[in-house]
Symmetry: C5
Subunit: 151 residues, 5 copies
């Protein structure tokens, strides 16, 4: 197994280091890291990791700012990440942490760390087809899970 | 016939179980289930179900949250699901239930169950070319139908 | 000539019947009808009509609801219809009637009927390269035309 | 050189006639005109002009209305025009005049005429690689140019 | 190494000259410049620079205006630039400066110059795989960097 990690210089936390650290807790995969300037550079970076470096799956890590233009950038990046997946038939797990999801720098770092770790676990479980036991369980990455509902 | 069901750990109701249960009421198809973290992972999951697992049609089940970012995610996922269909010439029936469509947890579960069942029936009828009798009839999945109009 | 008509069970008026009726007033084409649940299913349905049923052109008929989510669905469907056209080099004439374009059920039915008929005429004229005489003339389908402008 | 002109019956000014008139002032190209109902039909029309009629470049002319739905249509059309360019490696120069850019019918006609002419000149200069002398000069089509800035 | 620079006549500052000047400070690459009318023409221009002129990477330079329609154009252009990258597996570094990011003409020119230079440095470092040391460091192009966060 080869796992790609694409990250940015724009982000304010080294999410790639966290991702690699967490992945190594669950599996002994080869990890390839590729850093680009911003989130809009992540789609092609992820596709190159898959097609040129032979990665089986990619984590695309980014931290969009809080201005309207940043949200539009994130929308464009997400759309591109989905398109890249459809072109390669490989998963690219998007881990985006919006600056305005946290009310302080400390909280932002904590959120980035937690969300990245939980998505690294998702990568491991997805590769091994182990997510179905949690299907419909209200799982949230980085925040507390929601309660499942019933009637 | 092989039917794919793609679902998420983000959702708060096990819509895939409902879908499989309802499908079995109408047909004896082979069902393949594939669980991913969130709705943005559904497009490639659905495409893999079609191209790698040989499914003839896919149900893509998700429950977007109520925040603006969740609606944007749903928009990106929907766009990707349409693209995946165009790339494969296969239908992917999107069954999304927005958390803010219901005013209580119980109602949310009920809505998710009802919409999933009605779309499972759509899958059966679509595969057998039996939807034309209801064309233009104001059909709604999960809520009461609308009245057809005339002049 | 083979003309595809894709329509939905969501719509509240049988636009496909109107379309076929009007087309037959102008030409003796073979008509293939394909009904799907909602407008987001129209792009792949139209592409299948072109690629699998050999249609030369398709009319994609839908009636988006009046809620914000319905408008987003229409946007996604329209984007998909354009993509399907670019993938096939065939025209897909989108005929969408928004529920909130009319102030009563009667008016909605009348509008759906009129717009569908005028677009069926467009299909005939487009296939025969006869639209240029009306270029720049402010044509509107379903409502009164606008005046051309000059200086 | 063969130049395609795609226009609509929805527009309220015969922009194609203006485009052809202006193009002939600068070059002796063969011109192919193709009229469709509305701006959302322009992407595939432009692609057909390139791929089926052998055009080297296309002008896509349209006049979106002033309602929100018209702006969304324009957004979808523009997205499709860019996609068509990427699929063909040919330029499609979009000339859209929004009805609400002008405060009177006369002004709207004047704007449509002026913008079309200036973009026809762009087509000529783009084909001959002559736009670089105006790079960064604040050029505007149809309105007065902006001043370049410096520090 | 061959670097493409795509720019526009719409911009109010000669960002391409700045880009070439800065690139030459770091590397001795061959530079190919291609000027188009506006930002929506940049995606196909960039793709042509890659596929027809053999560029290894492209800088796409533009200066969107401050009106809502300009922001929509920028969104469409960005989406197209990402799509072009995915079709070619080459990076296209988007350098967009929004007119309303600056409060005076002088500041706008300064911002365009600074952002272009910093992105030219990104191009050099990206080509040489040297961006990882700055990953997660809150880098901003044209404005002061943000502080990294920790917990």
């Amino acid at each position: 197994m080869k796992i790609g990690i694409a990250d940015t210089t724009f982000a304010r936390y080294d999410m790639a280091k966290t991702a690699a650290d967490e992945l190594r807790r669950w599996m002994s995969a080869s990890i390839q890291r590729y850093t680009v300037p911003g989130i809009k550079d992540l789609p092609v970076a992820s596709k190159k990791l898959i097609e040129e470096s032979g990665c089986d799956i990619v984590m695309a890590l980014g931290m969009p700012g809080s201005k309207p233009i940043d949200k539009q950038c994130a929308h464009e990046a997400s759309t591109g990440l989905i398109r890249a997946q459809l072109m390669t038939n490989r998963h690219i797990i998007e881990v985006f942490v919006y600056e305005d999801e946290a009310s302080s720098d400390k909280e932002l770092a904590r959120l980035a760390d937690a969300r990245t770790r939980e998505h690294a676990q998702n990568v491991y479980r997805l590769l091994n087809n182990r997510l179905t036991p949690d299907a419909g369980k209200g799982k949230r990455e980085g925040f507390a899970d929601e309660e499942p509902v019933d009637f």
